[in-house]
């Protein structure tokens, strides 16, 4: 599917995308995981992860992504992200109230610190990345069906 020469853009764009797409994905994951230490966070990192897939779709044609992630799978994963966020909030009931940060705070400037904040960042990043990817997939699939009519 990826080596189909007719779909997508030219050979130069495909080669550069092949080199750079993993780095974009890695940068998005870095932004998410270091959300409580450096600028960024769940929303921005999730958008970068979604943009890496959009980049892949623009360069190689839409089948490169739609064959792996269908619209329904993206929608289900987005709901899982929302439920993760709510359940992390509900963990606070063990300490007394909703959204209470009851996990260990840890030492500042370390990756494993700040209690529930990194977990919340993970949940929001899953929700945002897969949700925006689902919107883009829906728009792309709609464009395909319109041409058939």
């Amino acid at each position: 599917m990826i080596d189909n020469p007719k779909a997508g853009m030219s050979l130069i764009v495909k080669t550069i995308t092949r080199l750079i797409m993993g780095l974009i994905l890695l940068f998005g994951i870095y932004i998410v995981l270091h959300g409580h230490l450096s600028p960024g966070g769940g929303f921005a990192g999730g958008m970068i992860i979604a943009l890496s897939f959009v980049h892949l779709m623009l360069a190689f044609g839409k089948e490169a992504v739609t064959s792996k992630i269908s619209k329904n799978l993206a929608s289900n994963l987005e709901s899982i992200g929302a439920l993760m966020f709510l359940s992390i909030a509900a963990i606070g009931f063990f300490g007394g109230s909703f959204f209470l940060n009851i996990l260990k705070k840890g030492e500042p400037f370390k990756l494993f610190s700040a209690g529930t904040i990194p977990l919340n960042n993970l949940a929001i990043s899953l929700k945002v990345s897969v949700g925006l990817l689902a919107i883009f997939l829906a728009l792309v699939i709609l464009e395909g069906t319109k041409k058939e009519i």
Partner: protein, 177 residues
């Protein structure tokens, strides 16, 4: 100083986006406004907002360019331009009048109105353990706001999936045939 140059550039690009005839050029001008806003956030020392603005702007530009690149939509200019111009001028004058009186009451830049902010700035790192104070505020002190934001995003995704679904439309077409 840099901020004023950026703001003038943004106003200029916004006027270009409205006035230019070609639709694709208009989208490019809108993108220029967004990226200038990103640099303005960087100058105002808000890197979190700058990253988010940059990424959202790129995704919006991709969707807008994909939507407009093959369509040559003609720009419709009808009559009544005297009424349109006069009403626009009246609204701009009213906005400037009220904005002048409202902005005079604001405190100076960098001095927050609410006293709660000082508590967040002093105790943020010790009470949550997060070094990034923005993350400490949006995911610990003000997590209810983030929950509302997540709900808005969820509702928008559900709405788009419902409007753009393929199955229901095909069944209706088969019934018509």
């Amino acid at each position: 100083m840099e901020l004023h140059i950026l703001l003038l550039f943004m106003i200029f690009a916004a006027i270009v986006a409205i006035e230019v005839k070609d639709l694709l050029s208009s989208v490019v001008a809108v993108g220029a406004v967004g990226f200038a806003l990103c640099v303005a956030f960087l100058i105002l020392k808000a890197p979190d907002l700058a990253i988010t603005q940059l990424v959202v702007e790129i995704l919006c530009l991709i969707i807008l360019i994909r939507a407009t690149i093959n369509k040559d939509l003609p720009l419709v200019i009808e009559g009544r331009w005297i009424f349109n111009t006069v009403s626009t001028m009246v609204f701009i004058a009213a906005f400037l009048f009220f904005a002048y009186h409202a902005l005079k009451e604001l405190p100076a830049f960098g001095e927050p109105i609410m006293h709660l902010v000082k508590k967040y700035l002093e105790e943020g790192t010790t009470s949550t353990g997060a070094v990034n104070l923005v993350a400490a505020v949006i995911l610990d002190f003000r997590a209810y706001d983030t929950l509302g934001e997540a709900t808005v995003l969820f509702a928008s995704v559900v709405g788009i999936m419902t409007v753009l679904r393929g199955r229901g439309r095909k069944r209706i077409e088969e019934k018509e045939k």
